[in-house]
């Protein structure tokens, strides 16, 4: 029994008039359409986007995305009796959000609690505009995950770590009282000067720890998909642990830092461009504020 990826999609922003909910929902609809999954069979929707339209604190962004997608909006008595309905919520763990949500979905599937889940991600500045000092490219992505009853495919151990000391590296926030009546469109991202370097080192130490767990044989890894907090984060992994530069997918060159969407966009590109085939193994790596880092091996 395994938790496998059924379909992916992505949606880039227009730079003005963007919305995290809209980008996530468009990616979600496209993802569902491309798959063989009946949308009414999606039991859980988890949103891992960090930014929130208009700095909404409630409801969950996931419920607004669910509404936009039109996913089991108002289950009738008969639907509930038949087990048709969707539970949605946000899982917030910065750029490690996707791997965190994948771990949650894996638990739900292993327990037989669900068969199908949708994870969405998106990051748009609360104003809807691509602000010059906002480090994330407006983007959204979606990934459908489900149960596969046999075989070696799917996610293997997902590890998530945070640094025990030192600065958090990056802080995204909104001082609500400092913007008069315009805090809905306000948000800042402060980045410490040594964030990139420290994050790189911390991520490398996490990968070493993961290798020591003997979950994977490095020589079997076909492709590494990496989150993109800086231009050289992906390329910095080349040459280390035996990874060559052709085995590291560099999404930054095409799209910049797509933050919470990065791992899903990376996987999407890998499948669209036939960079990975069934039974091949990939390593997904994320790193971000905290400092936090996550990794997991996936057999296609």
């Amino acid at each position: 029994m395994a938790t496998v990826i059924k379909a992916t999609s992505m949606c880039m922003g227009k730079r003005v008039g963007d919305s995290s909910i809209e980008l996530a929902a468009r990616a979600a609809k496209d993802c569902i359409e491309k798959s063989s999954v009946n949308m009414h069979d999606i039991e859980v929707l988890i949103n891992v986007g960090v930014c929130r339209d208009k700095n909404i604190i409630e409801p969950a962004m996931a419920s607004l995305i669910q509404q936009k997608v039109g996913l089991n909006l108002d289950p009738t008595e008969e639907c509930i009796e038949a087990g048709k309905g969707t539970f949605s919520f946000d899982v917030l763990n910065g750029s490690c959000g996707f791997l965190t949500a994948a771990k949650v979905v894996d638990a739900l599937i292993r327990n037989g609690r669900i068969d199908t889940a949708l994870i969405t991600a998106s990051d748009v500045h609360p104003s809807g505009k691509q602000m010059p000092d906002f480090p994330f490219t407006h983007s959204g992505a979606a990934i459908l995950m489900g149960r596969e009853n046999s075989g070696e495919n799917g996610f293997k151990k997902i590890m998530i770590e945070t640094s025990k000391s030192g600065g958090i590296g990056l802080k995204a926030y909104c001082d609500v009282s400092a913007h008069n009546n315009r805090a809905r469109g306000a948000g800042r991202v402060d980045v410490e000067a040594d964030y990139g370097e420290r994050l790189q080192q911390f991520t490398l130490s996490m990968i070493s720890e993961y290798i020591d767990l003997k979950v994977l044989n490095l020589s079997c890894i076909k492709l590494i998909i990496v989150s993109q907090p800086s231009p050289d984060f992906a390329s910095s992994l080349s040459g280390l642990f035996g990874f060559d530069e052709n085995s590291v997918l560099n999404v930054y060159e095409r799209y910049g830092d797509t933050n919470s969407s990065a791992p899903i966009i990376g996987y999407h590109i890998a499948t669209e461009e036939n960079l990975i085939k069934e039974s091949e193994k990939i390593l997904i790596i994320s790193g971000g504020a905290g400092l936090s880092a996550a990794t997991g091996m996936y057999q296609v």
Binding site: E58, V104, C174, V176, R184
Partner: protein, 344 residues
């Protein structure tokens, strides 16, 4: 294997604000206490925030637990309001990271969950499944709600009795936490968690910065939320009981999300009517909203804690927790609570 509520903790600010005192600040003829049954709520001091209240609740929970912070495998923060004083909304990193460091939970994984007032119930759903899947042995779900700033905004902005910010006058500040672990007793623990999002109604309540003043506001179509929940909760509960083969008569207590005394009473009456039960045949309803207001995601745990503190809770009681929040999220956690104690 079941997970169980191993310990709980709560923090409420010292300052009590009565409804009478609150309504002296508003130019509107409204008998809020009569309509809601809320006599008092707690307001934070200006130096308190979501983080400090979550931390205090977590520390209280650990003081009632056999675990130390360094034993925890997972910390999930489910605060709606992720504010650091005075009113800075922290978007990233998640608040659970700061809690983990301050508590000294060195080996713990962490993340936040956002699901409005159903946050802690969602946290229980996720943690229960992580334990059952063998990913963790235990974990803490914690929430700190610095929510009375929405009331401050409402007092400035409400002009008429029927106003979308009316519900903001019912809130109170609090922190709450619980630890789940593997139950050593096959009878004690969480039997069922069923939660659904009726996203048709996702826009009935929004919390966001005000567009009139420098603060945060909550806009609620309270009448519609009440109508939807009165209609759907009894039907959903009936399906849950049927699906899991439960005996409704075996339940001792019901702890619903704490909105207002009258609303809770109407909800329970609707459930009673649906199941053709008299009120005395329905599980005893535990409330805290009369003294603490609607403390958002912490409300159900605040009500449980209050009952334990008052020694109203028999050991090995069967409890149904009723989740109701914007989204709209509706659902139930049915559990046998074993020997859960809080310090007196």
């Amino acid at each position: 294997m079941k997970s169980r509520f191993e310990s709980i903790g709560v923090y409420t600010p010292q300052r009590i604000v009565s409804t009478k005192e609150l309504m002296r600040n508003i130019d509107c003829q409204l008998d809020l206490e009569r309509i809601t049954g809320i006599k008092n709520r707690r307001h934070r001091t200006i130096s308190e925030d979501s983080f400090s209240m979550a931390l205090a609740a977590a520390q209280d929970c650990l003081s009632n637990s056999r675990y130390n912070a360094c034993d925890l495998d997972l910390i999930i923060n489910t605060s709606i309001t992720r504010f650091k004083a005075p009113l800075t909304f922290i978007i990233d990193p998640p608040m659970s990271l700061f809690l983990k460091r301050e508590l000294g939970a060195k080996r713990s994984m962490n993340f936040d969950i956002a699901n409005a007032c159903a946050g802690m119930m969602t946290g229980a759903f996720v943690l229960d499944n992580m334990i059952k899947a063998g990913f963790v042995e235990n974990g803490m779900v914690v929430s700190g709600e610095c929510i009375t700033p929405v009331c401050d905004t409402a007092l400035l902005e409400i002009k008429e009795k029927i106003d979308p910010q009316f519900a903001s006058l019912t809130v109170g500040d609090a922190g709450a936490a619980f630890i789940l672990d593997k139950s050593p007793d096959a009878n004690i623990g969480i039997d069922v968690i069923e939660l659904l999002t009726f996203a048709e109604y996702a826009d009935l309540c929004f919390g966001m910065p005000s567009d009139n003043n420098p603060g945060v506001a909550m806009y609620t179509d309270a009448l519609q939320i009440h109508a939807v929940s009165l209609f759907k909760l009894p039907i959903y509960l009936e399906k849950v009981i049927k699906k899991h083969g439960l005996n409704w008569d075996a339940y001792d207590y019901a702890i619903p999300h704490q909105t207002a005394v009258k609303a809770i009473k109407m909800g329970i009456e609707a459930i009673g009517e649906h199941f053709e039960k008299k009120l005395e045949e329905i599980p005893e309803v535990l409330i805290s909203v009369d003294e603490y207001g609607n403390t958002a995601s912490t409300a159900i745990i605040v009500a449980l804690y209050k009952a334990l503190k008052e020694n109203r809770f028999k050991e090995n009681s069967q409890v149904v927790f009723i989740a109701l929040s914007s989204g709209m999220v509706l659902g139930f956690i049915l559990a046998m609570i074993g020997n859960l104690k809080v310090k007196q």
